[in-house]
C-alpha cells in the first residue's frame, strides 16, 4: 500500500482529521500548526537549510531552475516560496518585462524573504503575496510557470492545491514540484532516517532553539507521497507529460507537468 493510500484510509476512517507529522489533528488545526512551525524558524531558515542539507539544497534548486524553461517576459509564481531562493533566480531570468510572484501563507517567512531580496538588490520585478496554496488569489491561465519547493508536504489538501495551481497556469505552462521523496536506495534510506530523526532535531535545538519544528520536518517528509503517487496526483489535477527526476538517490524529487 502506498503512503497516500494509507493516508486516505486514515482520513476516511476519521474524515475531519489530517496528519501533522505523525500525529492526527483536526483539519483546520494543521494549518495553524504549520504556521507555528514556520513562524518559529523563519529567521534562521536559510542558515538551517544550508546546514541540514549540507548545502545540497542549492543544487536541488539549481536543477529546478534548469528545468523551469523560464524566459524574459514570463509570469512566474513561486508558491510556498519562503525566503525566496527560487524567486531570486527567476527574477533574473524573466527580466524587466516579466514578473515573479513570491507567495507564502506565512507572513514571517514572507517578510524574511522580502528583506533578503531587497538586500540583494532584486525586487523590481517581484511581487509579494500572502496566500494559501489551496485557494490561490490569481486569475485562470495567468502564469507560465508555477513552482512549489519544499512546500507541498505542508499543505493540508494537496489535491486541491495541485488543481488550483493547474488552474492558474497558461496552456503550455508548467508546474514544478520540488519535494523530499522516497530514497530509492535502501542504504541511503537508512542513513537518511538516522540523520533526520536524530541529527536534524538536535541541530534544530542547538541553532534555532527549537527541536520540535525540525522533528515535524522529518515526520512531514515521511508522510509525503512518494514519487509515483505524486505523479498520479499531478495527472489527476489535469497536468500532462508528468515526469520526475530523482536527486540524491531519491531523497528529493523534482516533478514537472504541463498544462495543455
Amino acid at each position: 500500500m502506498t503512503e497516500r493510500a494509507a493516508d486516505e484510509k486514515t482520513t476516511a476512517s476519521n474524515p475531519d482529521t489530517t496528519h501533522f507529522g505523525y500525529q492526527q489533528v483536526p483539519l483546520e488545526e494543521k494549518q495553524k500548526r504549520v504556521a507555528g512551525v514556520f513562524d518559529s524558524v523563519a529567521s534562521k531558515y536559510d542558515l538551517m537549510n544550508d546546514l541540514m542539507s549540507m548545502g545540497v539544497h542549492r543544487l536541488w534548486k539549481k536543477f529546478a531552475i534548469e528545468l523551469s524553461g523560464v524566459r524574459p517576459g514570463h509570469q512566474v509564481l513561486d508558491i510556498a516560496g519562503g525566503t525566496g531562493d527560487l524567486t531570486r533566480a527567476f527574477s533574473r531570468l524573466v527580466g524587466d518585462t516579466g514578473q515573479v510572484v513570491l507567495a507564502d501563507i506565512n507572513a514571517s517567512m514572507l517578510k524574511v524573504g522580502r528583506d533578503k531580496l531587497l538586500d540583494t538588490g532584486a525586487a523590481g520585478n517581484i511581487r509579494f503575496v500572502q496566500a494559501n496554496a489551496e485557494s490561490l488569489p490569481f486569475p485562470d491561465h495567468h502564469f507560465d510557470l508555477v513552482t512549489i519547493a519544499f512546500g507541498l508536504r505542508n499543505v493540508t489538501d494537496k489535491d486541491k492545491a495541485l488543481r488550483d495551481m493547474t488552474r492558474i497556469l497558461k496552456p503550455g505552462g508548467r508546474l514544478l514540484v520540488l519535494e523530499f521523496s522516497k530514497p530509492t536506495n535502501p542504504l541511503m534510506s537508512r542513513m537518511y532516517d538516522a540523520y533526520s530523526f536524530t541529527a536534524l532535531p538536535l541541530m534544530g535545538r542547538l541553532i534555532a532553539g527549537d527541536s520540535d519544528s525540525y522533528r515535524y520536518l522529518a515526520e512531514s517528509i515521511r508522510m509525503h507521497p512518494d514519487q509515483e503517487t505524486l505523479k498520479s496526483m499531478m495527472e489527476a489535477a489535469g497536468l500532462h507529460e508528468v515526469t520526475y527526476h530523482n536527486m540524491t538517490s531519491g531523497v528529493v524529487a523534482l516533478h514537472r507537468g504541463f498544462k495543455h
Binding site: 542558515l47 539549481k62 534548469e66 524566459r71 524574459p72 531570486r88 533574473r92 524587466d96
Partner: protein, 212 residues
C-alpha cells in the same frame, strides 16, 4: 546535460563573491552593467557541453541549459579557453584560430573587462577551477594556478562564512529579549489558566441551573 551540476554551482560560488569585490571599481561595474540582463553561451568544441551565463547586477547565474535567448556565444576547445584565461585580451580572443565567436560579440569585451579587472583575479580563479577538473588534468603547467585558486576559494569561503555568521548573529535574540519572552509566556500561561478556571466555574454554574 552530461556534466555534473556541481560544476556551474561551484563556478558561481567562486565568481560571484569575486565579482562583488571587483565591482567596487567603476570600470568593472560598468562592464557588469553592460552585461546585465544578457545571456551568454559558452560551448565546448567537440563535445555537447554548454554553459549559459545570465548576468544581472547581483552577479552571474550559471546553468547547463536554458530557454532564455542567447545574446552572444563562444565555442572553443578547453585548451583555447585556458589560453584565453591565461591572457584574457579581447584581441587574443578574436585572433585565436580555435575560438569562434557569435552574436553580439561586443559583450565579450565586457567579459574580458571583468576577467582582467583587479590584476586578472577572476581569470586566474576560473582557470584554476578548470584545471582542477579531470578533463584538464593533462595541463600540468596550470597546477600552480589550481593551488592558488584553492587558496582563493578558501579565502572566499571564509569571508562568505564570516559575513553570513555576522548577518545571522544580528537575528539572534539577546538574552534579555529571550527572558522578556519567557516572562510574557509565563504571564500568558497564567492568563490561560485563569480563563480556564472561569470557564469551568461557568460550566458548573450552568449545570447547576440546568439541573435545578
Amino acid at each position: 546535460m552530461p556534466y555534473p551540476l556541481i560544476l556551474p554551482a561551484a563556478l558561481e560560488a567562486l565568481i560571484n563573491p569575486l565579482l562583488k569585490q571587483l565591482c567596487r571599481s567603476p570600470v568593472a561595474a560598468a562592464d557588469l552593467a553592460r552585461l546585465q540582463g544578457q545571456c551568454l553561451a559558452i560551448h565546448l568544441a567537440g563535445r555537447q557541453w554548454s554553459l549559459y551565463a545570465h548576468f544581472d547586477e547581483g552577479g552571474v547565474l550559471l546553468s547547463r541549459q536554458t530557454e532564455v535567448p542567447v545574446a552572444a556565444w563562444i565555442e572553443a576547445p578547453l585548451s583555447a579557453y585556458l589560453d584565453w584565461l591565461k591572457d584574457p585580451q579581447i584581441q587574443r580572443l578574436r585572433a585565436h584560430p580555435q575560438i569562434q565567436l557569435g552574436g553580439d560579440t561586443q559583450l565579450w569585451e565586457a567579459v574580458q573587462g571583468l576577467l582582467t579587472a583587479g590584476e586578472g583575479q577572476l581569470a586566474a580563479a576560473i582557470g584554476g577551477l578548470a584545471v582542477s577538473h579531470p578533463l584538464a588534468s593533462g595541463v600540468v603547467s596550470q597546477l600552480g594556478q589550481g593551488l592558488s585558486w584553492l587558496q582563493q576559494l578558501g579565502r572566499n569561503l571564509l569571508q562568505e562564512t564570516q559575513e553570513y555568521v555576522t548577518e545571522e548573529a544580528a537575528w539572534l535574540p539577546s538574552v534579555s529579549a529571550w527572558q522578556a519572552l519567557q516572562d510574557q509566556q509565563e504571564a500568558l500561561r497564567t492568563e490561560v489558566d485563569r480563563v480556564e478556571a472561569r470557564i469551568r466555574r461557568l460550566e458548573a454554574k450552568t449545570d447547576l441551573g440546568n439541573n435545578a
